[in-house]
Amino acid sequence: MVMSLTEKRYLQECLISKPPLRPDGRNDDQFRPIEVFTDFLPTSNGSSKIVASDGTECVVSVKSKVVDRSLEDDLIVVDVDITGRRDDSPLVQEIASILNRVLLLQIDQEQLRLTQKYSFKLYIDVLVLSSYSHPLTLISFAIYSALNSTQLPTLISSEDDLDVAELPTFHDYDMSKLNIDIPIMFTLAVCGQNVIVDPASSESDVASNGILVTWCKGKVGAPIRTLSLNEEYTRGIHPDRLAESIRLIEILAPKVLQALDG
């Protein structure tokens, strides 16, 4: 969004004051309200739709396939599509690459194992219908909800099939819930001495820098890195801000997960 100089100055002044005065009055640790729809796509194993209060919308579908473990290295593939952006645009490629790596790094592939030979492979398709601010937080919430609602067919054949040339067979209608640890990611904006979560697009436009923090298995994990939120106001930050944002996520992440699960 383009803003005039006076708007940016007013906003920046508000955000660097202690405590930060966000344009919609939120606390520094307050997210925008979201609406979550789960399990609405009949043809996928799990699905979710998240609508944020600013109109950002994200649909995630999870499909599974049985693969031979010896032939496939990566058991999770993420595909990202953002309307209005080309597939080869830096933002889309960056987000897809980060998500692929995080999910492969943080999800234990053993949890997808079906039998000695075979395993489930998950295809996660992400579609961002409209986005105003950096969509990573919302996408990761949507992936979390989708994977949490994923139902996979229940195996009825034997798990030990190393010596038998037998394909796994499934129960006709019984499904079992996918049970894995799912990482979530947070984008934070640094404004002067303040760190704020879930920056809106106008807040991102005047932020001094952005920080990406990942949360998995009850603790902060990789990747953690600085993130580009705008080109105009980017500057160096004090190392304490990094520690602060991680501390903030350490407090917030359990609450966020509780809200998403609740």
Binding site: P90, L91, A96, S97, N100, V220, R225, T226, T234, A243
Partner: protein, 248 residues
């Protein structure tokens, strides 16, 4: 060849021939850099720096980083900067910076990861280059990774990123583009931190493993990276001073 159909220009006669210059008469760019060459060894790394190798760009740097402890860990990186040059399109009060990364020999890094590195580096240098001084222009940074290897893995992304930050800073100095500080990066395990203002400000942080990710440990990592940053920066400044003295 000359008279292909270009209706917007007045063309020469049909039988015109293109000008051909005698190649032998062109003075070959003599290698004056011998004096500038500098191989400084600090801490665990041996760093070799050279400036101005690429002739047709506005600034360039060549960096060779070899680990003392691990013989196989070696990064060779060539950075060239084009600009500031006029940019087309809408009016822009500031210069726009673009960073492009390419592996010129073996392609080992995934395309998505390269994009991640590029946006990361762009973000770092957006904070460092004095972009207000160059309105309506674009500055393009091209990174050519000539070689990178490490012991266990095929490549080590973190040492490449560190080399990129240092290489780009040296190239900016060579191009005479205004930067706010001699930015340099330091590495500790699989963490990279880019600093400015003598290590008091972080302009880039990259962490790719799970270890020590709690809020207390982060500052420790930053401190460790800072040590490496200070030695790297010392090397770079020494090179620049020596370079200056040699040209005087």
């Amino acid at each position: 060849m000359l008279n292909t159909t270009d209706r917007r220009r007045i063309l020469g006669p049909a039988n015109a021939k293109p000008l051909v210059f005698d190649r032998s008469s062109v003075p070959v760019e003599e290698n004056q850099e011998s004096a500038k060459k500098s191989s400084v060894s600090t801490g665990n790394d041996a760093i070799y720096i050279e400036n101005g190798i690429v002739v047709n760009c506005n600034g360039s740097s060549y960096l060779e980083v070899r680990s003392r402890t691990n013989d196989k860990n070696c990064t060779l990186l060539l950075t060239s900067i084009y600009g500031p040059r006029p940019s087309r399109g809408a009016f822009n009060a500031k210069a726009t910076l673009s960073v492009q990364f390419k592996e010129v020999t073996l392609e080992k890094i995934a395309a998505g990861q390269i994009k991640e590195i590029c946006t990361f580096l762009t973000n770092v240098f957006n904070a460092v280059v004095n972009l207000e001084r160059y309105p309506k222009s674009g500055i393009d940074v091209f990174l050519s990774l000539i070689h990178s290897s490490s012991g266990q893995q095929d490549f080590e992304l973190e040492s490449i990123i560190t080399a990129c930050v240092n290489g780009i800073t040296l190239a900016f100095v060579d191009a005479g583009i205004e930067i706010l500080d001699t930015v340099s990066a330091g590495m500790y395990k699989r963490n990279v931190t880019a600093f400015m203002k003598n290590g008091t400000e972080v302009v880039g942080f990259w962490k790719d493993d799970d270890e020590q990710s709690s809020s207390e440990n982060i500052l420790e990592i930053v401190e460790k990276c800072k040590e490496h940053y200070l030695t790297n920066r010392k090397t770079m400044i020494e090179f620049m001073v020596r370079n200056k003295n040699a040209s005087d």
